[in-house]
């Protein structure tokens, strides 16, 4: 699987689900409506500047806080296909994988430091590699555990057969 797009960088650690999709919108269950409020807690223009196939690059523990699945739904309905971060909060990670919304890709600190906002990236999941076309560098992705990779390849938990 190869993905290509522009990265939107929010280098902070602990970007929580209340930043990704603020609490007051929790009762909304319409996916398109939710996507208008994606990342509103950190960037009110986010939904407007994202194109289909884009990525987010963020610091440690992305998606911490409440378990709301609204967060990955809002991001994926904006067009985001992968979030790159050194670590993710547990429930956010599960929601991304199991819902088949987007890929939570674990990267190392070097990638976080060296990839800049608006860089064009190509991500190869099979080779576990990120190629940054803007600065010409390559970075590794930590591979998914086998069961999780199978769920991703199935298109989400609902399509997975044990």
């Amino acid at each position: 699987m190869t993905l290509k797009g522009i990265v939107h960088k929010y280098g902070k650690d602990n970007i929580d689900t209340d930043v990704i999709l603020p609490g007051p919108y929790l009762k909304i269950h319409d996916h398109d409506e939710l996507s208008k409020h994606a990342m509103e807690g950190i960037d009110t223009n986010f939904a407007k500047k994202v194109s289909k196939g884009d990525f987010i690059l963020a610091g440690n523990n992305f998606g911490c806080g409440s378990s709301r699945e609204h967060a990955p739904i809002a991001l994926s309905h904006c067009g985001i296909t992968a979030v790159l971060a050194p670590s993710f909060a547990r429930i956010f990670y599960r929601n991304c994988v199991d819902g088949g919304y987007l890929l939570p890709l674990e990267i190392d600190k070097t990638a976080l430091e060296q990839i800049s906002d608006k860089d064009t990236l190509q991500i190869n999941i099979e080779n576990n590699q990120i190629s940054d076309f803007t600065n010409g560098k390559n970075f590794p992705i930590f591979p998914f555990p086998p069961l999780i990779k199978k769920i991703i390849d199935s298109g989400g938990l609902m399509y997975y057969r044990e």
């Binding site: 902070k12 650690d13 602990n14 970007i15 929580d16 689900t17 209340d18 930043v19 603020p22 609490g23 007051p24 929790l26 009762k27 909304i28 269950h29 807690g41 950190i42 009110t44 440690n60 523990n61 911490c64 806080g65 409440s66 378990s67 709301r68 699945e69 609204h70 670590s87 909060a89 547990r90 429930i91 599960r94 929601n95 199991d98 819902g99 555990p145 086998p146 069961l147 999780i148 769920i151 989400g156 938990l157 609902m158 044990e162």
Partner: protein, 415 residues
């Protein structure tokens, strides 16, 4: 194996498991509430568009629902969500539906223990991040998102990664001015809001053995604030007494083996602790109450799954007895049954005599505050890092309330 590993091994029908293993495990109990429930129903709707139908819930008797976050409904969407949830529960034969204004109801996590809906040794999943709370009963209690809950609802199974476990050894006598809230805030301020990411937090030691069930529940409740997958305490006679006062249903308690392993161990001497307050905007931002003498308090809220159990209300009443409040003070017992017990003990009378408003459990104050604080932070361009560990927005009074009372008393805000 420790208790977390042993429960996962039992639920996944294996002789043993080790941290890092990814397994499918059988679920014993499942909870949704009026926010996660409609989200789960939405997942079923999406699935059905793709040809995957929910014919039956795997076991309707093992599923329960609580209306606790948007009741009474303040707007159309919330009201519709409640109706949708009700119709759905009826269709799939889910009888344990705790409805607002219909007998016992309250915060989902409070009901899990007040009604003994979850028993020691069980694997329990809930559609809320504070599902961890129920681990105090000696159960593996894990919060999941909508898709995971929907899958578990359909198949009675879900995948799990066996977590590393950190042991918190709490030792020594517990002084009267120290509550479980002080202990857990101290721990969170030491290890950080991501200090237990992906991990289990187990509490043991002679201070825990002496602790009441309600206090133990405060410890496990706030493991969520440290990022933990679950919080857990081995069941003992206090657990059994608590359960037996509520149900005669049989259960098989599980405790760790003698050669159990922990990835890390911390020891806390409880008699050396001081009362602690979590300052805005993170539970990690703790300070001893003594250092906050000059801070003026504008409002007080005694509520939530952490702070409005019977013992919490008793401690607050002890301070308010015979005094008058000088700032707006709201008291919201966490469940109908707790409200009734507090009334019988005369606690409600004390609060009302003091001038506080006593309401039924509902999330309106919490939700209303979210807007105010969120807007404020946004306009001040303060980036709210790690602040909403509480599950409900950028400000939640939960971590601090009973320490607020100590401050109130010291500042003579309470006459």
């Amino acid at each position: 194996m420790n208790i977390t590993e042993k429960i996962i091994a039992r639920a996944s029908k294996r002789n043993s498991v080790s941290p890092g293993d990814v397994v499918f495990a059988d679920v014993d109990k499942l909870m949704i509430h009026d926010v996660s429930g409609p989200g789960v129903i939405k997942v079923f709707e999406e699935w059905s568009k793709k040809g995957i139908q929910l014919e039956n819930v795997w076991d309707p008797d093992r599923v329960w629902i609580s209306e606790d976050h948007f009741v009474p409904s303040a707007d159309r969407i919330s009201a519709e969500n409640i109706t949708k949830l009700t119709r759905w529960a009826e269709k799939y034969g889910i009888k344990k539906h705790f409805k607002y204004g219909l007998g016992q109801y309250g915060i989902c996590h409070t009901l899990s223990h007040e009604e003994a809906l979850v028993l020691p040794g069980e694997f329990y999943v809930g559609g809320d991040s504070h599902t961890n709370t129920t681990g105090a009963l000696g159960a593996l209690a894990v919060g999941l998102g909508h898709t995971d809950i929907a899958y578990a609802m359909m198949h009675g199974r879900i995948w799990l990664k066996v977590p590393d476990t950190i042991l918190f050894n709490l030792i020594g006598s517990i002084p009267e001015h120290i509550m479980a809230k002080d202990i857990i805030l101290k721990i969170i301020s030491d290890i950080g809001t991501d200090g237990a990411n992906y991990k289990a937090m187990e509490f043991g030691g002679n201070a825990v053995s002496k602790m009441s069930m309600e206090e133990r529940l405060t410890l496990t409740n706030m493991t969520t604030e440290a990022g933990a997958k679950n919080g857990i305490i081995e069941p003992d006679s206090i657990t059994d007494d608590y359960i037996r006062q509520r149900t005669s249903e049989p259960y098989k308690p599980i405790v760790g083996d003698d050669d159990r392993h922990y990835v890390d161990e911390y020891t806390y001497e409880i008699d050396k602790l001081e009362p602690i307050v979590a300052k805005p905007y993170s539970p990690q931002n703790a300070a001893v109450a003594r250092e906050l003498q000059g801070v003026e308090i504008n409002k007080a809220y005694i509520g939530s799954c952490t702070g409005a159990k019977l013992q919490d209300l008793r401690s607050a009443a002890q301070i308010l007895r015979g005094k008058k409040v000088k700032i707006r003070t709201e008291v919201l017992p966490a469940a109908q049954s707790i409200y009734m017990k507090a009334m019988k003990e005369g606690l409600i009378d004390i609060f009302m005599q003091a001038g506080a408003v006593v309401g039924l459990q509902h999330a309106v104050p919490v939700v209303a505050h979210i807007w105010v604080y969120w807007e404020k932070m946004r306009s001040a361009s303060v980036l709210p890092t790690g602040i909403s560990q509480e599950g409900w927005g950028t400000w939640n009074p939960k971590p601090t309330w009973h320490r607020l009372w100590l401050l109130l008393r010291r500042q003579s805000k309470v006459k």
